[in-house]
């Protein structure tokens, strides 16, 4: 499970700063495929949900829907300060706040924008959580 994490990236209402850094992870400089990480566009294939940008009333249902479509075990990463807490937009009337307002977040990656290094580090930490969840599910199945 730890050797093959497939990512699903959803952009809430970010300024695209974090999204560009997420894509930068795939480039030859960072090359996350070294760790078997694949950026899949499909919730059914994904193990890790990577959220950028804050949650608002429009994308709330979308995020819930995507999360529900992912098969267990799954983990959620909030990337960038907007996704972790709402950031500077937290007080806005149209913003609900961070990703944890709608789905359970396992790893928070701060930064504006979050650096590729910290995103990769966050994914590696998420793998430990994923493994934990898998073991728990296996124990429950018994």
């Amino acid at each position: 499970m730890k050797k093959s994490p497939w990512l699903l990236h959803y952009d809430g209402s970010s300024c695209n700063g974090c999204d560009i850094e997420v894509l930068a992870c795939l480039t030859p400089v960072y090359d996350v495929e070294r760790f078997g990480i694949i950026n899949t566009g499909n919730p059914r294939h994904a193990d890790i949900l990577l959220l950028t940008g804050s949650i608002n009333h429009q994308n709330e249902e979308v995020v819930k829907n995507i999360y529900a479509q992912m098969p267990n075990p799954k983990v959620v990463l909030a990337v960038g300060v907007c996704a972790t807490s709402g950031g500077v937009f937290a007080e806005c009337y149209n913003v609900k706040g961070g990703a944890d307002k709608v789905v359970p977040v396992d790893v928070y990656i701060p930064g504006c924008a979050a650096r590729p290094e910290s995103i990769i580090d966050g994914v590696v930490r998420a793998l430990a959580v994923l493994e934990e969840k898998r073991a728990k599910l296996a124990a429950e199945a018994k």
């Binding site: 050797k3 078997g36 294939h45 098969p71």
Partner: protein, 287 residues
């Protein structure tokens, strides 16, 4: 007895060969893009993970259909490597593809639906080449029996260069490589997300992956058949063709389904048909 051994060796070894090939493919692709790439065993890690994941079935039919796809794909290669009948092999191959298409059609996802339609287009584009290849091989070697064809020692490539080129062309479709990865792409996500496999997850996706390993091994076996008169040359040809497909994959953008169909048929008609007509006109082939 020999045919049974060939069949058993294929059933056991093909997933290993196919998986390693997929791993090498990803490394070579990564190197072509100036990246390091994943470990060579990555495809095995992926499939292992998929088996450990929960499977969200969209309906009761999907998993049995995916399973049938795998079973018929194994049967295709088993007939081929047992030295059986080439017609039976090619038709079983088509049946395997149909099961995957039906599995994708059974889901409600529009991406899966479009993927299945495009997979049908691919089947439509690729099948004439396989039929012509069978006709050409029969004309040259006088038999449909694969064992006799391979043991006959006829240099098929010299008699059937046009059909061989057509086969290399459709190989890109069957290996799901650019520019013909219209129904499903290995790379990131495309305009129809994961196309034909969009609604297949966990256990069923793992079966599709394994079946793809069987499929690749069978297809490379078909390349081998054209050079079967010389083992070293055949192995080199298989390696070169596969490397060529990876290079084409990395240097070409995806084309539309119209171009996929028209180009494949045009090439089949001109090169494949021309090859066959030339064979009959010259009639140098002994009966």
């Amino acid at each position: 007895m020999e045919s049974l051994t060939g069949m058993l060796v294929y059933i056991i070894a093909a997933p290993l060969v196919g998986g390693l090939l997929a791993g090498l493919d990803r490394i070579v692709s990564a190197r072509m893009q100036n990246r390091v790439g994943p470990p060579v065993l990555q495809p095995f890690y992926d499939v292992g993970k998929l088996f450990a994941k929960g499977t969200a079935e969209v309906n009761r039919l999907q998993v049995p259909l995916a399973m049938c796809h795998l079973i018929f794909m194994i049967a295709t290669g088993a007939f081929f490597f047992a030295g059986g009948d080439i017609i039976l092999t090619v038709f079983t191959f088509a049946v395997a593809a149909i099961f995957l298409i039906v599995a994708a059609f059974s889901s409600g996802s529009p991406y899966s639906f479009v993927g299945a339609e495009r997979e049908l287009i691919i089947l439509l584009s690729a099948e004439p080449v396989l039929l012509l290849a069978m006709a050409g091989i029969y004309k040259v070697s006088g038999t449909f029996n694969l064992y006799a064809i391979a043991a006959g020692g006829k240099p098929l490539i010299i008699y059937l260069p046009g059909i061989f080129l057509c086969f290399v062309y459709i190989l890109a479709m069957k290996l799901r490589k650019s520019p013909f990865d219209i129904s499903y792409s290995h790379h990131a996500h495309q305009e129809i997300v994961k196309g034909i496999t969009t609604d297949l997850g966990g256990f069923s996706l793992a079966m599709i992956e394994i079946s793809h390993w069987y499929e690749n091994t069978f297809l490379l076996g078909f390349i081998y058949l054209f050079f079967a008169f010389n083992t070293v040359l055949a192995a080199a040809a298989v390696a070169l063709v596969y490397l060529f497909e990876i290079m084409v994959d990395n240097t070409n953008a995806r084309v539309r389904w119209q171009l996929t169909l028209v180009s494949a048929w045009a090439l089949t008609l001109v090169l494949g048909g021309g090859n066959l007509i030339a064979l009959y006109m010259v009639n140098i082939c002994p009966k």
